[in-house]
């Protein structure tokens, strides 16, 4: 894109700046629209599984429901509790929202369509997702209220527990792909199994890791059945209890942007990203962006499905799953996969 701007007679610096800003807008605006639609889809799927109709009043099939909700919260008053730490109270949702958008910078949408093609793309994702916990923890503390504080404690423990096993799972993917660059990881999956299936997931050694990654992703984004941070039967609304208006909406948007990011990561790391599922020339006629979008929507459907069917975990069960099941298992797979790759001369 920089070159296009340079063709218009701009200097490299100005062209690069313009291209970056255009790239950010090209990602952020469709993402916001996507989040609005995905909230609608989530409610529809959930309703269908509970034999309800779901939102069906605003616009055709209720499609404009999210926008109506957005307008509603936009017009509400932002209430700051008098005992709250005002500055931190208002910064916390902004942190959550910003962090949810930042990670999208390194996701490859098509070959060459990536905002920041950096060597350490996967580490960047890990770094940014580890920042996500601050939005919740700061909100819990700054609200100066019991329930948000409990929720913040839970969030901190939960996110740290699952990040460890996610790290080990990613190491296995990196070992196989031989790079931390997300675009490189996608390309490494081309014809990975039998020479024509694109995607690490079809590999019997990596399939269990994908299942663990999917579950850990649900825990990391605090999605049901691991939504203990906002367990309404115990903690009112968790860290969001004291929030209203736009601050609340920012949490809502950030949360769904994070869920979409997890879906995109599942697609990019295990399901071949923007590559079609099979390495057949005719499938490449469909643009890579469409394949990625289809995969993201598929994973989002799984997330919604799980939310509608699985009851919430108890807190000790959540901790047990993270530390006593996923951590040893993913560590074992690091040994297994590096051993296998050494034995087959993958690193030679």
């Amino acid at each position: 894109m920089t070159q296009t701007f340079q063709h218009w007679g701009l200097s490299f610096g100005a062209a690069w700046g313009l291209a970056t800003i255009a790239g950010i807008l090209l990602i952020a605006l469709p993402l916001m629209l996507g989040v609005a639609m995905i909230i609608y889809a989530d409610r529809k799927i959930w309703a269908a599984m509970a034999l309800r109709r779901g939102p069906n009043v605003v616009g055709p099939f209720g499609l404009l429901q999210s926008f109506a909700d957005g307008l509603k919260v936009f017009l509400q008053e932002t209430i700051v509790p008098s005992a709250a730490n005002k500055g931190l109270f208002l910064i916390a949702p902004i942190i959550t929202f910003t962090v949810a958008l930042m990670a999208w910078a390194v996701i490859p949408f098509n070959s060459g369509a990536i905002l920041a093609d950096i060597n350490v793309g996967l580490l960047y994702i890990l770094a940014i997702s580890s920042l996500g916990v601050y939005g919740v923890v700061i909100a819990g503390w700054a609200s100066n209220s019991k329930y948000p504080f409990f929720s913040a404690m839970r969030a901190a423990a939960q996110m740290i527990s699952y990040e460890v096993s996610i790290g080990f799972i990613l190491i296995c993917v990196v070992l196989w792909a031989g790079t931390f660059n997300l675009n490189g990881i996608v390309l490494a999956q081309k014809g990975h199994v039998f020479g024509f299936i694109n995607g690490f997931v079809a590999n019997p050694l990596l399939f269990p890791l994908w299942v663990m990654f999917l579950i850990s992703g649900m825990a990391e984004t605090a999605r049901a059945p691991f939504d203990l941070t906002e367990a309404e039967s115990e903690l009112v609304a968790g860290y969001q209890t004291e929030y209203s208006s736009m601050a609340f909406a920012l949490y809502w948007l950030g949360e769904y942007a994070n869920v979409l990011l997890m879906c995109a990561l599942n697609a990019v790391l295990f399901w071949g990203g923007y590559l079609p599922p099979l390495d057949i020339p005719i499938l490449y006629l469909v643009p890579g962006f469409v394949w990625l979008l289809l995969k993201i929507l598929f994973f989002f459907f799984i997330f919604s499905w799980v939310k509608a069917t699985v009851p919430r975990y108890r807190y000790d069960q959540l901790m047990r799953l993270g530390w006593k099941v996923f951590l040893p298992l993913s560590l074992f797979f690091v040994f297994l996969i590096s051993g296998y790759l050494m034995a087959t001369g993958h690193f030679a």
Binding site: N119, V120, L123, S130, L131, V133, V137, A156, I160
Partner: protein, 205 residues
């Protein structure tokens, strides 16, 4: 041009947030400013071309260590009057510590000026490593030349971790743990029975 601008931005923010970390009255604010300092430090690392170190700084310090700091500090019941009362008592110790740090800083700058060790080129770009990328360069060094030191530090950390667990672990006799496999193996027919008691008759369980 943009590098210089970014450097001064990050450097100013590191120094400023470091200062506020010390000056802030509220310990929670201190930790949060410390996180800002870590983050800008990572920005400086990116500027010198050490993107791997930058990411690790964010993952390890901001993502894990500072969360634990925040965790502990938040749970403290802060009494500001008591915090300030220890000032005179702790002043000599703090002053000595500051003096040591200042000496180290002067020594470090002096050693760098003397130019005995090659830390990097004066314009701020780091010396190029063995591999093509940062990660490969560090990996190649860690697993060849510094293999023994690397493994030794790993073992020291492992021993420290196990030691901390052993020292703080206390077994409680009165708590009843769960047997997960027993819970999972339990089937409905083990726990429930279908009965059809007649009117006025109870059931024997």
């Amino acid at each position: 041009m943009i590098q210089t601008l970014a450097f001064y931005l990050f450097a100013t923010l590191v120094v400023a947030s470091g200062a506020i970390t010390i000056l802030a009255r509220n310990p929670v604010h201190s930790v949060l400013w410390l996180i800002v300092a870590f983050f800008n430090g990572a920005g400086l690392m990116v500027l010198v071309g050490a993107e791997f170190i930058a990411m690790l700084l964010v993952i390890v310090y901001v993502g894990a260590v500072a969360v634990l700091f925040l965790f502990v500090v938040m749970m403290l019941d802060i009494d500001f009057a008591e915090l300030r009362s220890g000032f005179v008592k702790n002043f000599p110790l703090g002053f000595a510590l500051a003096l040591v740090l200042l000496t180290e800083l002067i020594l470090g700058v002096g050693a760098y000026r003397a130019g005995a060790m090659k830390l990097g080129t004066p314009d701020g770009t780091a010396a190029t490593g063995l591999g093509t990328s940062n990660i490969e360069a560090i990996g190649a060094l860690l697993y060849s030349r510094y293999l023994f030191l690397f493994e030794a530090s790993g073992i020291i950390l492992l021993v420290a971790m196990i030691g901390a667990i052993v020292l703080t672990h206390r077994e409680r006799k009165d708590s009843r743990g769960q047997n997960i496999s027993q819970q999972v193996r339990r089937r409905p027919q083990d726990a429930t029975r279908n009965m059809s008691p007649g009117v006025g008759q109870g059931v024997e369980l």
